[in-house]
Symmetry: C2
DNA sequence: TACAAACTACCACGATCGTTGTACTTTTGG
DNA sequence: CCAAAAGTACAACGATCGTGGTAGTTTGTA
């Protein structure tokens, strides 16, 4: 196998994710990324053309991973629904309380949102299509099967916005998991009551 | 009057807001800010100690201005309510469709969210208290007078999250104002139905 | 009108950083 | 076991940038 180069490549991608997510594109230095990945700077340039190219690769990689995780959560909690409110709440908790690995991805998304004007539009577009939009469409599809909805995509947008209400803010200390569960439950209730009478 | 120095100071603050919001803290250069403000770099250092000090001053200034605008919207649309749904929608449109001046502030908030780990916590705290939290408290107070709510702060959070659904994304082209109005109206409906039956 | 404060233009310094070249070492596959 | 590929250490380049100094110019004011 190409085990060596693939391993290094992955190490670079995860190290770069950590540093880009923490420091942002401009502040992140190649040296810091190399140190975080346990790799020499020269090796980075063997695998990626530029700092910009590395950043885009990180966006693609982290976006695809996060999308997989979230699609898995949809499938896990929303495939067979017995108690809609309870299952939506479980789903929301899975979305709002990121495992330590996904933490960095959320910070990366914040960087992307801030840097939007300095990233090539094709890169943004590809990321959105493979990541957020894909998830939103799938969630809309499931919701449309579970509720009578005239605009499932909009409902998905509303649900995600409400659930994000329970996600830890980048400024405050992270809430306890029981507090998170309460917040998600409240958000889901608003969503369900809001869409109860149809529309 | 100190008309001269005050005018320059304001020019620096607005120019710095433009550049910081567009480029972020690290990428923004003092030269670019000086050019944008129509001022020499040396003058910037007469008015502010550091690049970091200038950034914090911009955060304070822009945050205070935005808070005033938003508090004014609360007062304007939610003081005397005749048709709750219509008035909440008008309020939401005012929040989600920023006038060109507030546009930069929204971008700045994205920069703050991305840079959170590199800004002194006191600065973040002061900004949040004078800006977002103040607005949220006032909105919660008004909502509590208009609806039977067990947790007005949470309701305010939900309403703002739903309304933000209609705000233009930093990636896509800005939606038409009529589309924005539709989205806000839908968000407000979900909120009202969601909180209709109490809680 | 004259003076002090504010402002400007210009230069220079030290630091950081992206990127590449080169010579050396390690690993892997035949 | 040995060649080729991958990785490393190290140095160097050019560019950008924050920041301060200095000397001259503008402007508000007494």
């Amino acid at each position: 196998m190409t085990t060596r180069t693939a391993g290094k490549r992955r190490a670079i991608l995860t190290g770069a994710l950590t540093v880009f997510a923490r420091d942002g594109y401009t502040r992140a230095s190649i040296d810091a990324i190399a140190a975080e990945a346990g790799v020499s700077t020269r090796t980075i340039y063997k695998h990626f053309t530029d700092k910009a190219g590395l950043f885009q690769a990180v966006i693609r990689d982290s976006g695809a991973r996060a999308a997989e995780t979230q699609l898995a959560a949809i499938d896990r909690f929303l495939r067979k629904v017995t108690d809609l409110e309870a299952d939506l709440t479980d789903f929301g908790v899975a979305m709002a309380a990121p495992s330590p690995g996904d933490e960095a991805h959320f910070a990366l998304v914040r960087q992307i949102n801030a840097e939007a004007g300095h990233i090539p539009p094709e890169a943004i577009e590809a990321w959105q299509e493979a990541g957020p939009r894909r998830v939103k469409r799938e969630l809309a599809r499931r919701l449309g099967e579970l509720l009578p909805l005239s605009d499932p995509e909009l409902a998905a947008r509303h649900l995600m916005a409400l659930i994000a209400t329970a996600a830890p803010s980048p400024h405050d200390p992270p809430p306890s998991s029981s507090r998170t569960a309460e917040l998600v439950a409240a958000a889901v209730r608003v969503f369900l009551y809001g869409y109860r009478g149809e529309r």
